[in-house]
């Protein structure tokens, strides 16, 4: 049950019941297990969750870097999952990705210009070498890389500059949609802020649409218009960024948000400390994935999957006890000792 697009305001990206299973010796690993959402044009959807929740896999499945097991992805009305090889090649230029690790995501044997210019060459977007150089320099200027770094190698640069190279490479083909996979989590705070500002500026300038994947809740709040929360391969809650931070429906979201340490004296609030750890996504048992750790779980939570339901415009959650929570009948026990 997804929020469907309404008429002329068609979302740029729409994901329906996306699944990606990996085969492991222990059984099928349900990395992404029936995820549906859409992203509005020129907006940012933040996707948060803890390690192993499948958020990175979801981003890669959308771009078909991992072939999805099932489900469909519509990019501006075009079914990406069914696209032929040639069609996909065309679509790639419109959908790009920025990677997490600024060290591993750049070929150490290529120069800055070589990395940024490669997509231009692959898509034949350059007339001649002068044009190539001009375009690369323009891209470097756009992301704030000094001109003299044209011939530098990635290993000569720090993490922040490397990440700018990754951004420039993603921008080279003038895409409309970019998956940002934890682009700032490997960076120090002062550099992180520089990159976040850059991403914001680029969005304003080129009208980009982002899927912003991260585990850092303050970052996701800063950059996103909408936020969806993932737990063990499934979406548990989706809402506009501001609303979500004011009010959470799903117990997991509540616990997650209460766990963030706030850098202000006396800000320490009541905290929900979840028991146990995230369970294995290999051959998951039926029922709500969060039930084993959920303080509110009842027997029926362990039997059937809760559907993702829209309880208010643009606000969705997947919890069997949503109604009771919304009516204020039940609360999660906050902070022990």
């Amino acid at each position: 049950m997804t929020a469907t697009s309404n008429g002329n305001d068609r979302p740029l990206l729409e994901v329906r019941d996306l699944r990606k299973y990996f085969h492991t010796p222990q059984g099928a690993l349900h990395a992404v297990d029936g995820v549906s959402f859409h992203i509005r044009r020129g907006k940012t959807l933040g996707m948060v969750g803890e390690s192993g929740c499948g958020k990175s896999t979801a981003g890669r499945a959308i771009l078909r870097l991992h072939e999805p097991t099932s489900g469909t992805v519509f990019f501006d009305g075009v079914d990406v999952t069914a696209a032929s090889r040639t069609r996909m090649h065309g679509l790639r230029s419109e959908m790009q990705m920025i990677f997490q690790d600024p060290y591993a995501s750049l070929n150490p044997r290529k120069t800055v210009a070589g990395i940024i210019g490669e997509p231009l060459l692959i898509y034949g977007r350059v007339k001649d070498t002068d044009d190539y150089e001009a375009q690369v320099r323009e891209l470097m200027k756009t992301v704030g890389l000094a001109d003299r770094l044209y011939d530098a190698y990635p290993h000569e640069l720090d993490g922040g500059r490397r990440q700018r190279i990754g951004v420039a490479r993603a921008l080279a083909l003038n895409p409309r949609f970019i998956v940002c996979d934890e682009p700032v989590s490997a960076l120090d705070v002062s550099i992180q802020a520089q990159i976040l500002n850059l991403l914001g500026d680029l969005q304003d300038r080129f009208g980009l649409t982002y899927l912003f994947i991260t585990h850092d809740l303050s970052v996701v709040k800063h950059i996103s218009d909408d936020i969806c929360v993932m737990y063990l391969g499934q979406l548990v809650e989706k809402a506009p960024a501001k609303t979500l931070f004011q009010e959470q429906v799903h117990p997991y979201t509540k616990a997650l948000l209460s766990a963030i340490p706030i850098p202000r004296v006396g800000a320490r609030k009541k905290r929900i400390v979840l028991q146990g750890e995230i369970s294995s996504p290999v051959n998951p048992r039926p029922g709500c994935r969060f039930a084993p750790r959920c303080p509110l779980a009842r027997d029926f939570c362990r039997i059937t999957d809760p559907p993702l339901t829209e309880y208010a415009p643009g606000r969705l959650a997947a919890c069997h006890r949503m109604d009771e929570i919304l009516q204020g009948k039940i609360h999660i026990q906050e902070a022990r000792g």
Binding site: S51, D188, Q194, L196, H222, A259, P263, V265, V273, L274
Partner: protein, 322 residues
């Protein structure tokens, strides 16, 4: 007030590729008994090196403590001989390392790894040490029966609990926790922080908590020291420093953080990059990035100034107290 640890003018250098990395440069720090001090700063600020120096664990010849004194309960750690230092480590001063995945010996059971500390320092029988190890596991929230398990059978959060159990096994007087939760997920981090808080009274009196997360400092610490390029640039109670940060670098750190309670369209990050630790700029190491840098900053290294309750190493406040 009783000072448990005092570091005076500590400098540590590493030598690589014919270059000298100035990891810590004339660092001064003191810790009140019973307090928790947060040591914050970005990658390469020298936080871990400082902690390792307190245990005299800088590996020679790659690194060397060039100068300074580290007084733990009045005794200089750096002049201690081998036997004394080994007695100090684990018994009076313990350390928790950042990465729980690699801090445990893969070939020994976790029980064994806790028990060997106990046996070494408290000279008890093997059986006694094993039962204390089991009790220690229970204390950090792991069933005692799992003492026979090997590290690879535990998840990241559980491993960090084991590491904490090892560190606290002999009730040290000072705990050095080097980014103890950085490798963990938020909800697991919450569990571990909660546990550390509750164990603090029971086992240790004083803690140095190294982190880059200002939120953790606000929650866990009484005092805070901001480090930049191997120096403490600002030092004071958490309340003073967080409410009225004085040093432009500390200020910049706060401005860089996306905030959860207010909406900002743009962040105001510190411009530029960390200085190359092999070629630190003259004067104040922060001056090339400082929005309020003055002429003097590039010439003279500032002296620490006491400003209503906290110490700041910045020329902006130099004249006020002469």
């Amino acid at each position: 007030m009783d000072t448990i640890l005092e570091i005076r003018d500590l400098s540590v250098h590493y030598y690589a590729d014919r270059e000298t990395v100035q990891a810590v440069n004339g660092l001064n720090l003191s810790l009140t008994r019973g307090a928790t001090l947060g040591l914050v700063g970005e990658t390469g600020a020298g936080k871990t090196t400082t902690a390792l120096s307190i245990l005299k664990m800088i590996q020679e010849p790659q690194g060397r403590i060039v100068s300074g004194r580290i007084l733990f309960e009045g005794r200089d750690v750096l002049t201690m001989d081998r036997a004394e230092i080994v007695e100090l480590r684990g018994k009076e001063v313990s350390m928790i390392f950042q990465d729980p995945m690699t801090s445990l010996n893969p070939l020994l059971t976790v029980g064994e790894q806790i028990a060997e500390t106990v046996r070494k320092h408290d000279r008890v029988s093997k059986a006694e040490a094993a039962s204390r190890a089991r009790a220690m596991l229970e204390t950090v929230g792991i069933p005692g029966g799992r003492a026979e398990d090997y590290p690879h059978q535990f998840s990241g959060g559980m491993k960090q609990r084991v590491v904490i159990a090892i560190a606290l096994a002999c009730s040290p007087k000072l705990l050095l926790a080097d980014e103890p939760t950085t490798a963990l997920d938020v909800t697991i981090q919450a569990q571990v922080l909660e546990m550390m808080r509750s164990l603090k009274e029971k086992f240790v009196t004083s803690t140095i908590l190294i982190t880059h997360d200002l939120g953790i400092v606000a929650e866990m610490c009484d005092q805070v020291a901001t480090m930049y390029a191997g120096e403490v640039v600002e030092y004071g109670t958490v309340k003073d420093v967080f409410d009225t940060p004085k040093h432009p670098y500390t200020l910049g750190l706060f401005e860089s953080l996306p905030s959860l309670d207010e909406d900002r369209d743009r962040l105001r990050p510190i411009t530029g990059l960390m200085p190359d630790p092999t070629r630190l700029p003259p004067g104040c190491p922060f001056h090339p990035r400082c929005p309020r840098a003055m002429e003097i900053c590039s010439r003279l290294s500032p002296e620490p100034v006491r400003l209503n309750g906290h110490l700041v190493k910045c020329h902006l406040y130099g004249k006020k107290e002469g």
